[in-house]
């Protein structure tokens, strides 16, 4: 048993135990802590696997950002009601355990009987060292063969950011319903220098309740369709014929 295997066994055991702790802990904060431990150990295992860049990325992204966010949300959601909702669902627990064991059995069978097909790739440790280390080697692979996926990932991240903004936006259903139900046509909002004429805009006579002054100073005339005002001269338009 080499020292490498010993180190791996220790790290792996801690990672698995911590992972079990994530599932078993009653308090979500403790779960998160256990997950941190698991992630850090997995990152250490990455270093054994000569993936130093990914180890750093793992810590920065997972532990440094995602889990901090999770903790943030845990504390924000309901700090007084954090303990887990226990009890109930005995059937599901049993089913889940059976399924988990079955999958474990299947996967272990696959792992233990596996054979390697195909040739080893070009990035032997010597080749990696020749270009200056794991980071440089990964960069070469990434920016030569995976430029499009990188850009797609960038777009994905942007989309996720926008999605998060939308989700986090406080929604006021009343306003949305109002906008949905009535199209708004602003006839009395001259834009630009037409105001200089000093002529009052010709507004159609309004039924009671049609005029909403909700959107600030600007007068909104609610109309069911543009046809209602088609024959109305627009602001500043010549009256012909």
């Amino acid at each position: 048993m080499s020292a490498e295997v010993l180190v791996f066994d220790i790290l792996g055991a801690i990672a698995v135990l911590a992972a079990a702790g994530v599932v078993l802990a009653r308090n979500p904060v403790h779960s998160a802590l256990a997950l941190v431990v698991s992630f850090v150990n997995v990152a250490a295992i990455y270093v054994i696997l000569r993936a130093e860049f990914l180890a750093a990325a793992q810590i920065i992204v997972y532990t440094g950002a995602i889990l901090v966010l999770v903790l943030f949300v845990i504390m924000l959601v309901d700090p007084d009601n954090l303990p887990e909702f226990h009890g109930g669902r005995p059937v599901q627990r049993l089913l889940a355990l059976i399924l988990g064991l079955a999958l474990l059995g299947e996967v272990m069978a696959a792992i233990l009987t596996r054979t390697i097909v195909g040739q080893p790739g070009p990035w032997s440790p010597q080749a990696v060292a020749a270009v200056g280390g794991n980071t440089q080697a990964l960069g070469r692979v990434l920016y030569s063969g995976y430029v499009l996926p990188i850009q797609v990932t960038a777009v994905l991240l942007l989309a996720a950011t926008i999605g998060a903004l939308v989700l986090a936006r406080p929604d006021t259903p009343r306003v949305r319903a109002l906008v949905r139900d009535t199209a708004t046509i602003s006839l009395a909002h001259p834009r630009g220098s037409e105001m200089a004429n000093g002529v009052e805009p010709a507004l159609p006579a309004l039924a009671a309740g049609q005029l909403k002054l909700e959107a600030g100073e600007r007068t909104l005339v609610m109309a069911k369709s543009g046809d209602d005002f088609l024959d109305q001269p627009v602001w500043g338009e010549r009256h012909q014929s």
Binding site: L99, E106, A110, T113, T115, Q240, S241
Partner: protein, 632 residues
């Protein structure tokens, strides 16, 4: 200069695009600077290019790129300037520039100011590409593009229902003509395998007579629509719903002459088909006559000028039909000056009268609008063909062309129409500017237009006075010598006109014009003839003219109404009954099935997760058994 031709259409295009994108938020009231600059660049380059064409007497061309490279079918975008295009270039860019300047004053304060100055350069771009094209497909594309611009500008005040409908009408009526034009282009391609002018003209003589006639008539169908000939002229008077500068530029000086230009451009095709020529001449003469009669009876100042435009286009058409190509283009050129002048003058009057267009509520404006009066008078006289203004020379030449081209009846109809022309033109002048003030002086205070509107009027009136001298002496003027290379070869017939004939017709048309002037004076200034009495005496004939020969009513009854009924039937039965029924039926079926299946959804995420896990276990298991070597 050939390498700079691309600037001519590009400059207005850039102006249009920039105004479209930035006009609404940034440029707003400054939008006109860019537009005028673009058109001015265009005009300047045109002048330089035309100067070179005139000096070297060869056509210039610049190949930009190949638009459609599909095997044998090549559509190059090549800008070509020969003498005919050169004339059109000067007319289009020159009048456009003046109208742009005029519009600054006319459209001032309109909320759509930037939009106007985006559409207008776009039109100029399309029109220039139309005249610069060297093949029929490009011509056709920009033929449609000018149609689009015309639509946009007629419907410029789109919130007014009448404007929106006039725009629609113009668009639909033009479609009829364009359809024929499109067919003609296809026919050319099918038979000749090319669409480039030079190739087509070189081969057209070899085709059978029937095919040539078919091509020529189909092409002329396009011209009927665009140049407002009978029976498709009904859109042009309605197009006066657009702003007046638009009427001046598009519906008088440039776009409507595209049909004339196209026929002149395709003259070898027409020249090869006497039947087609006859049709062109007849339709032109009929248009000239019918529109002139209608013009006599209208009271809307812009409508009169509009019918006058239709009538003058008729003159050009029958000149074409008589083989007097140069005369047609000459008349086109002079017409551009005086008709733009008339429209802009009418616009000035309307502007001064606070958007009043009915001549019955004008009168006596000479005192208030001296400049407008004099320029409008020059335009009217030019249009009426009073010696020695521009209209006299060109119209006279058109009529002489018809006479010597073997169409004496057409020439006589032209002379009759000339009488009417003179009569209605001076009717407008006298009704508007002379006599008592028939408007309410307390509410309306007529005032002369600002300089930015007056200057184009002055420049155009100079043109209206002197443009005719380009064609002096008749048949051998500068204009003719310049255009001669275009209309030679391809079996062109050259008619030599004796001096006696020229003189005779000059005298006759002068007499006719003066007769019209006299009649108008007698009726509307002296009151010697009572127009109402004459109208009553003529009875049905007057009604016929007043009701515009019932064209609109006939179309309404024969085409629009049946089509409307058919559409309603299609909507009620086919669309709602069959198409919607099928779609809703499918949806209903899905809904019915889904209602049966939805009980499977418990709404509990945990159950879904369990199902996913189960599926994973099963799939991995199946793979292990079937796909791997584990059990084999």
């Amino acid at each position: 200069m050939a390498n700079w031709i691309f600037l001519i259409p590009l400059a207005p295009l850039i102006a249009a695009v920039v105004n479209f994108i930035f006009g609404r938020w940034y440029l707003r009231d400054r939008a006109h600077w860019l537009a005028i600059l673009g058109v001015a660049i265009s005009f300047g380059v045109s002048v330089a290019v035309v100067a070179q064409v005139a000096r070297d007497e060869v056509a210039l061309s610049q190949h930009l790129y190949t638009w459609i490279p599909a095997g044998d079918f090549q559509v190059p975008v090549t800008l070509t300037v020969d003498q005919l295009t050169a004339v059109m270039l000067l007319v289009v860019t020159g009048v456009s520039l003046l109208v742009h300047i005029y519009s600054v004053g006319y459209m001032h304060g309109d909320p759509g100011f930037y939009r106007f100055f985006a559409y207008l350069p776009l039109f100029v771009f399309s029109m220039l590409m139309l005249v610069l094209a060297n093949n029929y497909l490009l011509l056709f594309v920009f033929w449609e593009a000018v149609g689009l611009c015309s639509y946009l500008l007629i419907g410029f005040w789109y919130r007014r229902r009448s404007a929106a409908q006039a725009a629609k009408k113009a668009f639909v009526v033009n479609r009829v003509g364009d359809f024929g034009f499109g067919l003609g282009v296809m026919l050319i391609f099918v038979h000749l395998g090319t669409l480039e002018y030079t190739g087509v003209f070189a081969q057209v003589g070899a085709l059978p007579q029937g095919t040539i006639t078919a091509i020529a008539l189909l092409l002329f169908t396009g011209a009927i629509g665009k140049s407002a000939q009978i029976p498709l002229f009904v859109w042009l008077p309605d197009a006066m719903e657009g702003p007046t500068p638009v009427s001046a530029l598009i519906h008088a000086a440039t776009m409507v002459t595209a049909g004339i230009f196209m026929v002149a451009r395709s003259w070898p095709i027409f020249a090869a088909s006497p039947d087609a020529m006859l049709v062109v001449a007849i339709i032109g003469a009929a248009t000239a006559f019918v529109a002139a009669t209608i013009g006599l009876t209208q009271y809307d100042i812009k409508k009169v000028v509009a019918y006058s435009t239709v009538s003058q286009l008729g003159y050009m058409a029958f000149a074409l039909g008589s083989g007097a190509w140069v005369a047609a283009i000459f008349h086109l050129t002079t017409h551009a000056f005086f008709k733009a002048l008339l429209f802009l003058g009418a616009g000035s009057v309307i502007h001064a009268m606070h958007d009043e267009q009915d001549m019955r509520r004008m009168g006596g404006l000479k005192r208030h609008l001296p400049l407008t009066y004099w320029t409008f008078l020059i335009g009217s006289a030019a249009n009426a063909g009073i010696f020695p203004l521009a209209g006299f020379w060109s119209k006279d030449e058109v009529i002489v062309g018809a006479w010597v081209g073997g169409r004496p009846i057409v020439a006589i109809v032209g002379l009759v129409a000339a009488l009417f022309t003179s009569l209605y033109m001076f009717r407008v002048v006298f009704l508007t500017f002379h006599g008592p003030e028939r408007f309410d002086a307390h509410t309306v205070h007529p005032h002369e237009s600002p300089p930015v509107m007056a200057v184009p009027l002055l420049i155009l009136s100079v043109g209206a006075v002197f443009a005719g001298f380009l064609g002096v002496p008749p048949e051998r003027g500068v204009f003719h010598r310049f255009l001669e290379p275009v209309f030679s070869g391809h079996g062109a017939e050259v008619h030599h006109v004796s001096t006696a004939t020229t003189l005779t017709f000059g005298l006759i048309s002068t007499a006719v014009a003066l007769a019209g002037l006299g009649l108008a004076y007698a009726a509307y200034v002296r009151g010697a003839i009572k127009p109402a009495v004459v109208a009553a005496r003529l009875g049905p004939l007057y009604q016929l003219a007043y009701r515009r020969w019932y064209f609109d009513e006939i179309y309404e009854a024969l085409i629009v109404h049946p089509l409307y009924r058919l559409s309603v039937w299609l909507w009620r039965v086919v669309d709602i009954g069959i198409i919607d029924g099928a779609v809703n039926g499918v949806a209903g079926l899905v809904n019915f099935t889904a209602q049966r299946w939805r009980r499977v959804q418990t709404g509990l995420v945990a159950n879904y997760a369990l199902a996913i896990a189960l599926g994973t276990v099963i799939i991995v298991g199946v793979y292990l058994i079937v796909g791997s070597t584990l059990f084999q």
